[in-house]
Symmetry: C2
Subunit: 202 residues, 2 copies
DNA sequence: TTATTTATGTATCGATTGATAGATAAGTCA
DNA sequence: TGACTTATCTATCAATCGATACATAAATAA
């Protein structure tokens, strides 16, 4: 039961690191343009090892999506949820989006999920459900805090939590889009304070 | 000089229609996943004819981008510029975005340029400049009308035209993202009036 | 008519694609 | 030790990729 030793020859690579490397490759070139050769080079393991550990190219892709949604993708939301005040939450969310989409070392610009939506939804089986879920989850978590703040009296009773959650989320889409297209963090931060006011305006 | 007749065998296809068909193919599957076989099927002409008329796959891709930026891409901006009042302009822009990204017959969901940004910027030579220009042009045209309305006294002197132009533009990115991910026009239109207020708020 | 120019379709090129077979290596079990 | 299980790498598969050679068709020019 508590025996952690496994039968057979042990893995020579870290499953998590390999998955992140694959994600970076898919994120940089897109699903279709990323060849098995690219993946073996990025992950540091050979073809058959990939198939044995992660399944075929499509299954590997879906696993990188799940990994991203659980880790990098929600960093701005974590900042949002952990901030002291609502205003700091919104500000923290947007600054986190900017830094993650422009300054993340080793990672390509923009947002991995945005790339997935743009190219593989409807083309690669299993992507659509994951994207639908990722968007809904983000909307819900943002709206939840707004509702909490309403209950605490920090936001008026008629504050449209759902609308503003979607607005904030869409600001993020705009930012990752511009970031991918070459915008610098400085340029993106220009609108910051105006946008914070906008989201919280009553 | 005014002789319109050309030497040699005439084309059997309409160059414009073929270009739009190629764009739809690229938009649906993405640049890398769209094969020459896909293109010949979509455009109705055979491989060598494509190469003779449009150059190689990359050149054809760039030509579809230029075509889109000139036609479909700016439909919401045309609605924006042609509306009677500022408020109607913003409302018209957003409703046009929704209808174009969800109900355009024959065209895939979302926005072709958004797909280009997500996958081929930095990978296909010539795309980056076009995307940078497309975004700047849109921002500038939206801001121009806000400035006009300020001059007419319909908006306060301190109205942040640039910020709100970028905000409106980013709302569009959010919409095409959600649309591509499966959102219906109805769901997108839920936030419409709140967003119109938001963009014009002072 | 014949010469010239351009477009079209068939057939095909070498290169690369995703994926696998089979031999070998490295561990645990008895 | 030898049996068993799992992982790894080299070599290779058929299929498809983007792109082209070449012969033919259809127009104008002389």
């Amino acid at each position: 039961m508590n025996d952690t030793k496994k039968l057979g020859r042990p893995r020579t690579f870290d499953e998590d690191e390999a998955l992140m490397a694959a994600m970076t490759a898919f994120w940089t070139k897109g699903y279709a343009a990323t060849s098995m050769k690219d993946l073996t080079a990025a992950m540091g393991i050979s073809g058959p090892s990939i198939y044995s550990a992660f399944g075929d190219k499509r299954e590997l892709y879906l696993k990188t999506i799940d990994r991203y949604a659980d880790v990098d993708g929600c960093a701005p939301i974590v900042a949002f949820e952990g901030a002291a005040s609502v205003e700091d939450a919104v500000r923290g969310f947007l600054t986190s989006v900017v830094s993650h989409s422009t300054q993340q070392e080793g990672a390509p610009r923009g947002c991995f999920l945005a790339s997935c939506v743009a190219t593989t939804v409807g083309e690669v089986e299993g992507v659509a459900e994951r994207m639908e879920k990722a968007i809904c989850d983000t909307d819900a978590r943002l709206a939840a805090r707004f509702d909490q703040e309403k209950a605490l009296g920090n936001l008026p009773n008629d504050f449209p939590s759902q609308d503003r959650a979607r607005l904030l989320h869409d600001m993020r889409q705009g930012h990752v889009h511009r970031s991918r297209a070459g915008w610098t963090a400085e340029r993106l931060l220009d609108d910051l304070e105006d946008r914070v006011k906008m989201v919280l305006m009553t």
